[in-house]
Amino acid sequence: MAGGSVFECKEYLFKVLVIGELGVGKTSIIKRYVHQLFSQHYRATIGVDFALKVINWDSKTLVRLQLWDIAGQERFGNMTRVYYKEAVGAFVVFDVTRGSTFEAVSKWKHDLDSKVKLANGNPIPSVLLANKCDQKKESSNNTALMDNFCKETGFLGWFETSAKDNINVDEAARFLVENILANDKGLPYEESNGDRIKLDQETVAAESKSGCC
């Protein structure tokens, strides 16, 4: 059943958080990314919602992203600690049309870094998303400012995104996954084992239909 090529296929399962203020478009970004759809009709997320994105990363690698869509009003006590557990990457989202949601980015980033770390003690890779860029009023160029903000706050980088017009959502995800994979490969197997789940042969063989290997 298990041919040689199947045997070499590597599977990863990564838990990725999507956090940020209420109404910035976290759910919309995830729905766009996973289902290639946009709707004005999503209800506010309560607690946490789950989605799964399967990526045929390359001919030898299959990545499953387990996306944890965390309620924007999740500000009460220790709940986020429960949700953040074992995450290996994060998106922090703000709404370019509402300045206050950008001001909250540092707060979310701090919350994240204080509650979850990689096995080696480093903060988990995180990417900043400036969402609803289709509604941006002025076309001011603040690239340098944003680059600097990311450096200071510890983001790997930032993307202007629009879940509505499908701008940069795939790109941002690819960027984050690249970094997660780099972290994963940089660690000895034993240590990274928690992030990587090797599936049994049967599952791998079944998955190979989907295009991996």
């Binding site: 289902h35 709707s39 009709h41 309560i46 607690g47 309620a71 924007g72 006590g77 709940m79």
Partner: protein
Amino acid sequence: NRGARRARDIRAGSTGTKNATHHRQYNKNSSAHIRSTLQKQQSLPVRPIIPLVARMSDQNASGAPPMTVREKSRLDKFKQLLASPNTDLEELRKHSWSGIPREVRPITWRLLSGYLPANKERRELVLKRKRDEYFGFIEQYYHSRTDEHYKDTYRQIHIDIPRTNPLIPLFQQPVVQEVFERILFIWAIRHPASGYVQGINDLVTPFFVVFLSEFVNVENFEVAALPLDTRRNIEADSFWCMSKLLDGIQDNYTFAQPGIQNKVKALEELVSRIDEDIHNHFKRYEVEYLQFAFRWMNNLLMRELPLRCTIRLWDTYQAEAEGFSHFHLYVCSAFLIEWRKEILSMVDFQGLLMLLQNLPTIHWGNEEVGLLLAEAYRLKYMFADAPSHYKR
């Protein structure tokens, strides 16, 4: 067990029991559509719009079959209780438990929630006083929504209102959205220990729909066309009844939401005693109850059930002592176990969570809720009064 199987048969659209026949025929055209959409539902980001979603008030809405003799005598009993100079609330609760006839639901809800007095003579006066009091709050406080101190609260409410029941056109009417904004803002600033917490917006909906149904067919109506006085009365009554409900579950929404934390723990404990297989299955795949049941508690299952079912559920919650706080726990347990087969056949974390967050109840009606409540009642009596009896 037979009941559960019967419910499943009905859901699958098979032919069967006599009292469900009418309702099934009524929905026959949509049932094939429902079945095909249900299969796709798990991969769909939003629930599809189907005719049943719009039929929100309950299964006995206009166009439903004529009343049976039994229903007629139930309605007469309600009318008799309501007409008495002093309504016997105990008796009213007893009859409400198994569902309130649509025609008398608005007044019965006002009585059961403790908003209206049992004494018939005093009702008019109390209504007038409370309605005036509410609009007094509006006059006094509503302008402060733009103040520095309250603008965040107002903004959160403002963002959440359009996404409350986004698929039901009634709630997209500007007049209706303004009603919800006022109710929620006033409630939030009068309850600073919790303020506005996401989910509370959902809890206004059943009251609003039930009180509106007293005047119009809620499925398809321009609320702005109602006389101003009528609209104001519906708004004030919705506010007060929602306030009464929230008084009983306030610790769900205060700092760190202790009420919810405790209820989720209690649910876990209960399920571990009632159905060890499900409990161990969750353990094995590292599913935590908080991951799905937080929403069940925070929104009183409103996200998991069609609105018409929530309305029926609330008939019973208002008839039970501590219905919204305590009995809800048993309803959640019964609801979880309802999906036993589906849960046990799902063998990975993602699959389980996605199942538990998208349970296919879109075609549920009174029948299914009735069975759910009966099971919850059974669990309550088996497990509540003898907490250690079933402990291993």
